[in-house]
Amino acid sequence: MTEELIIAGFGGQGVLSLGKILAYSGIMQNQEVSWMPSYGPEMRGGTANVTVILSDERISSPYLKLFDTAIILNQQSMDKFESSVKPGGVLIYDPNGISIHPKRKDIFIYQIDANNIASDMGNKKVYNMVIMGGYLKAKPVVQLDNVVEGLKKSLPERYYNLIPLNVEAIQKGMENLVTINQELILN
C-alpha cells in the first residue's frame, strides 16, 4: 500500500500538523512515511501545503507532481492542486471560502464542512482533526487507534487530555463527509 497525499490550505488551518499526525499514525502501523512541507514566506498568513506519503515500501521521492489524494482547504489551493490528483484519485475539500468548486469528473470528490463542525464543537482548533476524520472515511489508510498513538507522539504530554476531544472531532468528520462525485468518467 502506498498513499501519496497533499494537504493544502491557509497557514492557520493546521495543515502541517495534520500531515504530521498522519505520518506518525503511519509509523504506528509500521509503515514508511515522509512529510514534505512547502515552506517559505507563504507561511506568513498565505498558503501552506504538505505532501505526505505512507507506504509499506521504502519511499523514493518525497516530492511529487501527482497525488492519490488531495485535501484542499482554500480557493488558492483548489486552483493549484485540483489538476494534481491522479485520475481515479480522491479530492476532499472544505467548501467554506471555496468559490469555484472542483469540476473534474475522473476523480472522487468529497466535501467536509469542517469549519462549521469545529465551530459547533466549540473549539476551532480541532478543525484539522475533523478534516482527518473525513479523510479517513474516504480513505481508511490508517486505523483510528494508530491515529491516537500518532497524536500522542506529536503532542506534548501535557496536552494528552485533549486526545478525547480530537477523537471526537475525527469521528464527527467521519460522520459528515459528503460525497460530491462518485461516478468516475475516465478517458
Binding site: W35, M36, S61, Y63, K65
Partner: protein, 361 residues
C-alpha cells in the same frame, strides 16, 4: 538501542549532534536550516551533555568561532544555507589551510544572490571545487534522507579527525525540511578534557600542558617553499580520502542501459524515475555519489563498459555533470538535466529528459 522518531532532516541532524557528543555549535539563522539551532536551543544541550550552543552575530563570526574551538581539539559544528555559506568561504579556506577538523552543514537554497528559499543543488561547485581561495578541497557528504542527516554527523567528525580537515555535509532544503522516520543512536559521551589532552596534545591549543612545547594553529607560511609543502601535504590527504573513504550507492545498475547520476534530494526523486522507467521497460539505474569529493570516478568509468548514456540530474544548471564527464573521459554521452531557482524536478520530468536527451536522440 536506537530510538525511532519522526523528524525533520534539520532536527535529526541537531539531535544526532547532541548524541554524538559534539562539543559546540556556532551558527546564524537562515532559512531553510534554522531548525538546527532552534532544535539545539530547545533541547538545552548544555544540560544534556554540556554542549555549547551559541548564536553568533553573523556567519563570518560563526565560522571563525568554529575555527577557534576546533583549534583546541573540540568537536565543533556549524550550519548555514547558501548566502551564509558564501560568507563562510574565507573561514573555510583558513580551516583547510590550518588543517582543522570540523563539520560544516550547508542546507542549500536557490541562488544566486538572495534567490529563493526553496531547495537547490546549485552550490555543488562551491562545495566541491573550492568556493574559498587557494588550493584545497573539502570532503563532502551528501545525505539523501533524514536518516542520513543524522548518521552523517558522526561519520563526518570521524573523517574530520582522521584527516585533520573540515568536512562539509551538503544537504538541501528538501532533505532539511522533510520529515521521515529516523533511528537515533544512543547518547555518546563528549570527550573529557583529559581525553582531549591526550589525543590532541601534539597539535591542539588548549594551553601547553605540563610544559610541552607550544602548539600553533595557523595557515600562514611566509616562506613559499614551506607553503608549497603544506599544500602538498593537504593534497596527499585528499588522495588518501579518494583511496579510503569514497562512498556511493548504486540502485539497479547491474543491467542498466542508462544510468542516472544524482545525489541528495535529486537522488531520491530520480529513484522514483528508475521505477517509472522500468515500468515502461527502459532499463535505468541510479548511481548516487554519497561523497561528492571524493567522487566515484572509477565506478562511473566501470559503467561506461555497459551503458549507452549517463544523465546527471541536479537541481542546478549543470555542475556535477562536469565531474561525471571528467570521470568517464567522454567515453559515453553524458547529459545534464536540472531545474533551478528552487524548482524541484518531478520523477516524470526526469524520465522525459532521459528519453529526449539520451534515447530518442
Amino acid at each position: 538501542m536506537a530510538e525511532l522518531k519522526l523528524m525533520k532532516g534539520n532536527e535529526a541532524l541537531a539531535e544526532a549532534a547532541i548524541r554524538a557528543g559534539v562539543d559546540a555549535y556556532f551558527g546564524y539563522p537562515i532559512t531553510p536550516q534554522t531548525e538546527i539551532i532552534e532544535y539545539l536551543m530547545m533541547e538545552q544541550p548544555e544540560k544534556r551533555t554540556g554542549m555549547v550552543v551559541l548564536q553568533a552575530e553573523s556567519e563570518v563570526a560563526a565560522i571563525n568561532m568554529v575555527y577557534g574551538a576546533a583549534g583546541t581539539g573540540k568537536r565543533v559544528l556549524t550550519s548555514s544555507s547558501s548566502p551564509g555559506m558564501s560568507l563562510k568561504q574565507e573561514g573555510i579556506s583558513y580551516m583547510a589551510g590550518a588543517e582543522l577538523p570540523a563539520v560544516i552543514v550547508n542546507v542549500v537554497r536557490g541562488g544566486p544572490g538572495l534567490g529563493t528559499i526553496q531547495p537547490s543543488q546549485a552550490d555543488y561547485f562551491q562545495s566541491v571545487k573550492g568556493g574559498g581561495h587557494g588550493d584545497y578541497k573539502l570532503y563532502v557528504l551528501a545525505p539523501a534522507s533524514v536518516q542520513e542527516m543524522a548518521d552523517f554527523v558522526e561519520d563526518a567528525f570521524e573523517i574530520a579527525f582522521k584527516y585533520m580537515a573540515p568536512v562539509l555535509i551538503l544537504s538541501d532544503g528538501l532533505i532539511g525540511q522533510m520529515m521521515e522516520k529516523v533511528y537515533l543512536k544512543e547518547q555518546k559521551p563528549r570527550w573529557t578534557e583529559d581525553e582531549i589532552y591526550k589525543m590532541h596534545n601534539n597539535w591542539a591549543t588548549f594551553g601547553r600542558k605540563n610544559g610541552r612545547e607550544r602548539n600553533i594553529i595557523t595557515s600562514l607560511d611566509l616562506k613559499s617553499e614551506k607553503m608549497e609543502a603544506r599544500v602538498h601535504r593537504l593534497y596527499k590527504k585528499y588522495a588518501q580520502m579518494e583511496a579510503e573513504d569514497l562512498r556511493f550507492e548504486t540502485i539497479q545498475c547491474d543491467d542498466a542501459d542508462y544510468v542516472i547520476v544524482a545525489y541528495g534530494s535529486s537522488a531520491r526523486i530520480a529513484q522514483k524515475t528508475v521505477d517509472l522507467a522500468r515500468a515502461k521497460g527502459i532499463k535505468v539505474g541510479l548511481l548516487r555519489p554519497i561523497t561528492l569529493f571524493p567522487f566515484p570516478k572509477k565506478q562511473l568509468m566501470e559503467l561506461t563498459k555497459q551503458v549507452k548514456g549517463i544523465l546527471s540530474v541536479e537541481l542546478n544548471m549543470g555542475q556535477m555533470v562536469e565531474d561525471v564527464r571528467l570521470a568517464v573521459e567522454h567515453k559515453v554521452p553524458v547529459e545534464h538535466f536540472g531545474r533551478t531557482g528552487g524548482i524541484i524536478h518531478t520523477p516524470e520530468e526526469i524520465l522525459e529528459a532521459l528519453q529526449q536527451k539520451l534515447i530518442n536522440n
